[in-house]
Symmetry: C2
Subunit: 328 residues, 2 copies
Amino acid sequence: MKKIINDPNQVVSDMLVGMEAVSPEVCYDREGEVIYRRKKIEKVGIVSGGGSGHEPAHAGYVGTGMLDAAVAGNVFASPDPARILKGIERADSGQGVLLVVKNYSGDIMNFEMAADLAAELDIPVRSVIVRDDVAVRESTYSTGRRGIAGTVLVHKIAGAKAEAGGTLEEVAELAQRAADNVRSFGVSLSGCTLPGVGTPGFSIGEGQMELGMGIHGEPGIEQTEMKSAAEIAEIMVEKITEDLDYSGAETAVVVNGLGGTPLMELYILAGEIDRLIRAKHITPVKYLVGNFMTSLEMSGASMSMLRLDEEMKDCLKLPCNTMAWKEG
Amino acid sequence: MKKIINDPNQVVSDMLVGMEAVSPEVCYDREGEVIYRRKKIEKVGIVSGGGSGHEPAHAGYVGTGMLDAAVAGNVFASPDPARILKGIERADSGQGVLLVVKNYSGDIMNFEMAADLAAELDIPVRSVIVRDDVAVRESTYSTGRRGIAGTVLVHKIAGAKAEAGGTLEEVAELAQRAADNVRSFGVSLSGCTLPGVGTPGFSIGEGQMELGMGIHGEPGIEQTEMKSAAEIAEIMVEKITEDLDYSGAETAVVVNGLGGTPLMELYILAGEIDRLIRAKHITPVKYLVGNFMTSLEMSGASMSMLRLDEEMKDCLKLPCNTMAWKEG
């Protein structure tokens, strides 16, 4: 294992120290392993989080117009309810808090317990569960579909609505609509190594790739011979558009790297995706290309596509200022 | 070789097609392999470029407040003078053009020839050469120090000055001052594979790293056993501050990934760098953490630090809107 780290058991706190040091927008609550917005605003709070190793998710999305707090678990492990409660308390300004949760059993259980603890403190909490990954119906760590990079679009839309003064009810309703209208599909070319373990959890053979592998290395649909960017784009677009009717729609598209994939390849893939979706009369009005929800140094990529309505489209355009996503 | 590409000989044009598709700010001139700003503004033009494989450099920096055109060579190969001339013509609005060139022999020669060709067309051209890498005095592809990720800071400052209406003389003078005041140092943990070659150009043994390796895999100072983030940060900060007096200075710092390094590791490294430079009474006022000048999927990182004066500080804060760097 070659990683630029100190103690393998301290990677999460060392990373959050670094995030606090370099971003004027955020503070690090060391007790809760929470990155929160430095300047508290009177508005509905937005909280997300989950296991670490998916950077910039989720702490990279804390700041103006997106999240108010992100709660970090250990690498690929859900944060416990006490930490999530800290995040909720950091985000609460008296108008309630929305939790955006990726659909993994540990996260669902812990965020639910934290919501119950918050209720005891008279903090109104609503939750939206993101289940965007169309690859598999059930998976190692989830009942039902997994939540992956499409979650970032839900953060943006919920964050913009809250920043614009929406009530908890309104923000939760819009976030749910975003979650209902986003689909994702990913491919992996390699495994990844957890810092505390030191050897790869699994590997993918030379000349092979896996379709639909999860962001923790959970099994996908199949291993197959390595395909071209055009072929990969076609699989992604087919899987996603089979699952939801995007015809005639305006969309936001994320072409996401899993951590170890060069930007050159992501742009090549994005060009192929753009060609294919336009041929289907889908109009992408916003692209994100880069590393938005990763799996340590895993090689591979995912596509997410959100079917927009006018309100979501407006929210996408509103300003945000976070480490990983800025809009002017 | 596992890469998300189509034809290995078409990776550059396929990538530029993708960039044009996803970024409303830019267009792709297929004849010149040039990405240029869609909306031409009456101002001094800024042009950069060089070999591909360093994405987002340089096309990712084309847009409001940074570059007007970026010229792409083949992977790790300088673009020819005719292409650079296309870039200059795209960027020229009658007020002249500044070329920002990384110090590699091929780039120096080709950008100089292109400047001569532009002079024949009565386009006034000035050049600034960036030589920020303190690791080695001479290298495989350079006479004198190499230009690496510090170049991105020169783009930002020159771009802001031009956007604010500076004359060619003023923009060139400020860009030169930025180039004179930035230093960088990098470490590599792995080699990388050129798409047209298919096997890694070199490798770095298990448990080993190379100090000062170049962004094309050129030799650095030494191979050594793998070090911790704190030790790597200390080497970077020492090498950089030995070379330029930063005492009491305000600085801009880039913690740059080489393509295959997870963001988690870059933030851990950034936290260590921040601690060390503050102990030296250096005040970082701006951080960039992420992939800004890469070497395909190479694993490793570099640190760049620019000693700011008031004018540079103001320019850093001005808005920019590019694929890889946005300021609000």
